[in-house]
Subunit: 249 residues, 4 copies
């Protein structure tokens, strides 16, 4: 275990260094990057973001995790509360859950109407098309965790007092509605995976491997690490088409 | 003159009363209304807005006249700075100039590239389609003023010390580039007049008549004044198709 | 009547012109002006602001009329929701009701505790002292209306359909608690009238005269109209000390 | 080293657990906490915040590190840009550098006038008095690093490519003007250490020990960890008076 941890630490540090170099380049060229991170509860979004951003520039990096919408926001245009967080020149914005709430937790839990759900699946590609036409680099990641691993992590979370603020009233639903979440994920991938805004799937049952591959994938998309970086493992990072039949259910 | 003024005042007051009733209804039903007011300098946007909003609910009505974008805003998604102003349930938002700057002053004055201009003409209908699909009522008005009347009003403005803060360094350009502005207007109407977001033209050389007709048109679209209101004069308020050949140049 | 109206219109226009010149000067010198307008319901705050600001620079003038605080705001530092509206260089901000809610409607209606009320009366001068030490020009105006005139205006408001959005559930209380409001006003004047942030009282039973005098007073404080302007009428505009015994009750 | 690290990790985790329990209590009771973290470059502010907040509730915790003020902000009331970040009920806000910029980097680097500096030293206690009178719990911490340790850390920073975004053009000045920064610190402590808003000094040459003691101190002030927690080491955490003669210079 010790050895494996050491190798992971070394590899992670090498990748973080490449992230720093790449971000220096995106800042210099005024590029705008949006990273959308989606996945079931416990899929490892927070942990991946922590490693990804550890050495990034605080001034040019924002992690956006919006709270539940207010009553006023609920009555506004659905995308309205996300838009103010989009990046200016040189900025990288990471959405820890995003507008895709309306293709996941909202329809599964009944927080939106079927009409709103259908409308969202029509609107998301339109919205993203405008952003990418405007030159924003959009990276959409689905962190895929198996039913068994999720059950294990939820159990750990319940008994770990340090994770008190990670607990949510929805945790039990994550397990009880695992299949409904799988169906929602499939429909989301079917309808919103487009050439200009593709989904990439990252198998995340092994946390550390997932984190390394997630960073490798982002570096590959941005394509400017200026170093020899191992390509993401094609068994762990898949495009949406190849992922069919291999996603957790 | 006195008599005409009295008749105008009486008619205006009747229409303002209908506006109050209609807004009470839009508030009660949680409707969201966006009114986009465009037109050359001196076309009468400020004056029309003043009469329209005089008795409207201050809490549910917003007039949005954005200043020049900051450097940071200039580097963001073009629509980003407009989106936070879109209405919540029950609200009416009036844009005194709007995103259509990029189909008017910006291309005419060279403040955007031809590519940005073309992209905007593609994006505006996409953007508006998402808003109207979301249930927002969108009313787009072009106030059309003739070359002669504009010249007269600009001249008055220059000598009236009360209008000091209305003067702009662009006033001279409004006249010098009258034809370029006409061309931009025609292209805007050609490319962004859609069934879900039509343009309505209001001839505005006669200010008072224009104001009455503008309010009548808005009432007609919202269709709930609950009173006998004269229809807008079809020689003054035209849809985009019928306006062809009759627009100022 | 007609004649009187004509004289008022002429005088008002002359004063508005002086306001325009004075604001051009405050903008040029980067001065910051805060005008606090307080007074009972129907005292004429909206109408006075409308005339004062009619020709002011839209970009450098803001009228701030905050809605009821949200639950979140209620739990914050009392002044927190007012601070973001304070002026930058060259700006004039007019508060249509202000932090002094906590010395008027809140204690009278029981919306704050006696401790919060007492704390506010201690804090308001501290807060204003910091603003004026910072160079902000602070003008605090109390529009004083008599019981009889208020009753008359409230009655008119109830029957005028154009004033539908002016009606408030608190209107009845304004009359029923007239004495409590008088007491609150007196205590406010006693405890928050300071050399660095004095209160000026404007008798407002005659609306038009009140408006003219209010503008004259502001011009006198800013002292740069660059013209012969009649001084405010000392029977209508009084400093807090002289007003004692003459305030409405 | 390994052993020491293990002991540190265990102790840190115990303290973080106490932080979680204490925050659950501050949330439940709607308390508002402001932690001001000041200190020279490399004194360890970022690292301490990272450990302090690691398991805190993301929704009720904010770390505020404001960028350089914009031109507009520079012309506003000095405290204006800090006020919107103050906590609502249940929230903990950590200022990573704060309004005390005007008692440190600004006078040392000549970014403010001597008059502004003097005014700030008068205003800071007034401002903080209003906050604490309002019930906000204010904890002000000065992280004190020696000249020698700072030199060592700045040197490391310059050669570590992972710390690229930590480098600042002011780093060289931090060393060159070490004495001026010491004088500014002394004056700040003299004039702004008040009973209602005391300064606590934390010796920070040993990073890990400093972090543990910083958390212990915060827990002691909040006084609700519900566990046996060792008191902060009185040689490392000092009140402002006792610190005299022991501060780095």
């Amino acid at each position: 275990m010790g050895k494996k941890t050491d190798a992971y630490d070394a590899e992670l540090e090498q990748l973080q260094l490449a992230v720093v170099k790449t971000q220096a380049w995106t800042i210099e060229h005024g590029l705008r990057v949006v990273i959308v991170l989606e996945g079931r509860d416990t899929a490892g979004k927070d942990g991946a973001i922590k490693r990804l951003t550890e050495y990034m520039s605080p001034r040019q990096t924002r992690v956006v995790a919006l709270p539940k919408p207010s009553d006023r926001e609920t009555s506004q245009w659905y995308f309205q509360r996300y838009v103010p967080h989009l990046p200016a020149a040189g900025e990288t914005v990471i959405f820890n859950r995003s507008w895709y709430n309306r293709a996941g937790v909202e329809p599964v839990m009944g927080y939106c109407t079927p009409e709103q759900y259908a409308q969202f699946l029509t609107d998301a590609p339109r919205f993203e098309r405008m952003l990418t036409d405007d030159g924003i680099i959009l990276i959409k990641l689905w962190l895929d965790i198996s039913r068994k691993e999720q059950a294990k992590r939820l159990k750990e979370r319940r008994v770990d007092p340090l994770k008190r603020f990670k607990l949510s009233s929805l945790d039990a639903e994550a397990e009880a509605r695992f299949d409904a979440y799988s169906d929602a994920r499939d429909r989301m991938l079917d309808e919103t995976d487009r050439a200009f805004a593709p989904w990439t799937i990252i198998a995340t049952d092994d946390k550390k491997t997932a984190r390394l591959n997630l960073i490798r994938h982002i570096l590959k998309v941005l394509d400017h690490c200026g170093e020899e970086i191992a390509a993401p493992d094609p068994d762990i990072v898949l495009d949406s088409d190849k992922a069919k039949g291999r996603l957790a259910r």
